[in-house]
Subunit: 285 residues, 3 copies
């Protein structure tokens, strides 16, 4: 029985990126849909769950993607609500690469610094990748500061993480002014920058001056990068006594996690591969 | 040479259901199109018939589907009109599963009651599945009553069937009132209910009271079912001395017919698999 | 590693024709997109170039098609502009079959007449196929007359060809009146008609009267053909001492070139298969 992956993309055109990775993950047949919404997805899900017998349903799976992570989350919620009893197929959600990228960034940090008790700053921590990196690190026992221009916005992300992780402590910090940023960086051993393309969030000078900083990860592939002095190909590159990673330095691990997660979908019909599960797959590699 | 199935769906998104079944029927390559209309289909058909030599055209085929059966019929007519001489590929039409479901329902009845001369009532007989079940049974020599709320609507379906089957006799009956329904059921040995989801067409009490009734088939998967007392998993389940079938009890045969019909497409390039041909395939299984 | 072809079609529905040929060319996976424009193509290209390592990028390729050749040319330009450094995949452009058809027409002529120095008339030479046939023949050293109803329109095509071929000489000719057409035909050994369906560009009488004419090719599959007396199946058919080709007579070679060009895409990641390259592939067959 052939392994079918149903790609549900919230963008008008289904992502070529996700299609190539699906093929390279060993999927036999790929059904790709663009413009998928909670409104039009129900018939597609019924087609997935009503066509093969329950023991064979592990050979059908769903991948949710697209550039809009909030839309992907809504779609995932609707998909899970449409399943019932054993009538379900395994589902992975990785809109905009958010889960696989966050997992790869944390795994890079983890190679060099024990995460439990580590003090971490996530710059642009309210975006999809930053949010997920903060969540994974908090679950690992790190003391995470979620940075945003204003403390208010950061607080919302911390509430969301605390809710998922049963009241875990996450610290919202403002990074809008130089003084705020300096304070946010104080004493941290890990920094992950997950901001929009082309905006420097932390200067090379301030970074170099941080005595406690052990690992700095920038997830932006387009110069100028989010953290000054880091280059996109950096992979544990020593800069000023700090181990630096750029987006491409993280990319290899991200791709491995993505492929492994897609392959994992076909082991049973009841998995939901979201942030925690995708990180766990990354750990097992 | 790889077997290519071209799925032409009249809905905006091509059906996942039909795609999974196509793969499980052994199709090598599936080209799926949504939003197909008689207006935009001609170029697609030219692409099907002008790319492989005539002796190889049996390796390309067309499947017409979608939730709107009337739209599927119009598309089938346009597709056949676009073919010319030996420049054609085999085509199957099964919008909303209408042909495969009707065939499976009749085959269930046929296991228990000789169809020639049998008296049959089709409830909601003017819908796509009911219409097709009535047509198949009439062709088999049964005396078929096509039921609808009003006799007028039922008459139209009977005219349509008579036209296809060269003036065969089909009987329109009204089932809108209790008195009409009682009369419609009088003396029948088979009842098939093919109505919309969630509407009971025949109560459990009335059904149980029908002394002549041997087999009752309900094709609705969502409770309340169309025939009272039947359950969706029923498969020749004895209830009050009557053999009962629910939608899932019929579903296994429906899927087998669907898969066999798709596989059959690739045996030659000149087949048109509509109601009668799909029923014949079901008989041969 | 599976060979992936990404079909970018400028029409709303991706061409079935191009899909079947892609499969018959040995492509393993086909990602088909309709409605592709220079505006929405960038993300698709990034997905193509950022998913596999550079040494593996030759296993991914792009095919640009659709009925509008100008739209295809704009898309090709945008695709090439999106590539950078080694981050690129091989790309073929054959909107409306323009390149493969023109190449096949010229190869048919070449079997019977040495192209260098040959005097050629292209009827409807300003359309996509005519333009490309004129360009290939000019590059081969023929003396090409590009015919159009008015000399002005023909001149634009000649300028465009001269620009691509570094100031090569191409001759614009008007063919709007009988006198102009007679003059345009005077002394030519080859005529290719590449006009719209159903318009006769050259009568059977005038053709038969041309003493110098050796080969006449008509690329129109729908009667009346563009050159009187030719039939669509003609393949080097002697008519009035002239070797005649119809659209289907050319079609076999066109298909071989199309398949060979798609297969060639997967030999390296840096090819651009446009007019000259596709003709070269045709020559090598």
């Amino acid at each position: 029985m052939r392994k079918i992956l149903i790609q549900l993309d919230t963008d008008p055109q289904p992502s070529v990126f996700d299609r190539v990775v699906a093929i390279d993950s060993g999927v036999d047949e790929l059904f790709s849909y663009g413009g998928v919404t909670p409104e039009n997805v129900v018939g597609l899900i019924h087609g997935a769950i009503f066509t093969r017998g329950v023991p064979d349903l592990k050979n059908t799976a769903i991948f949710i993607g697209g550039s809009n992570v909030a839309a992907g989350e809504q779609l995932l919620a609707k998909v899970q609500k449409t399943f019932f009893g054993p009538m379900r197929v395994s589902t992975m959600m990785d809109s905009n690469g958010s889960n696989t990228t966050a997992a790869a960034a944390v795994l890079a940090c983890r190679k060099h610094v024990p995460l439990t008790g580590a003090s971490v700053l996530i710059l642009a921590g309210t975006g999809p990748v930053g949010h997920r990196a903060a969540q994974i690190l908090t679950a690992e026992g790190a003391e995470v500061r979620v940075g945003s221009r204003t403390r208010d916005k950061a607080e919302q992300t911390c509430f969301a993480i605390a809710k998922v992780l049963c009241a875990a402590r996450v610290i919202p910090v403002a990074t809008g002014t130089d003084a705020e940023l300096g304070e946010a960086c104080d004493g941290v051993s890990l920094i992950i920058a997950a901001g929009a393309a082309g905006i420097e969030l932390l200067s090379a000078e301030l970074r170099a001056s941080l005595k406690s900083l052990r690992v700095a990860v920038d997830l932006n592939a387009v110069p100028p990068l989010g953290i000054g002095g880091i280059e996109v190909m950096d992979k544990a590159k020593d800069r000023d006594g700090q181990l630096c990673y750029g987006a491409i330095g993280i990319g290899g691990t991200k791709m491995k996690i993505h492929r492994a997660a897609v392959a994992r979908l076909f082991e049973s019909n009841d998995q939901v591969l979201d942030t925690a599960a995708i990180y766990a797959i990354g750990q097992s590699l």
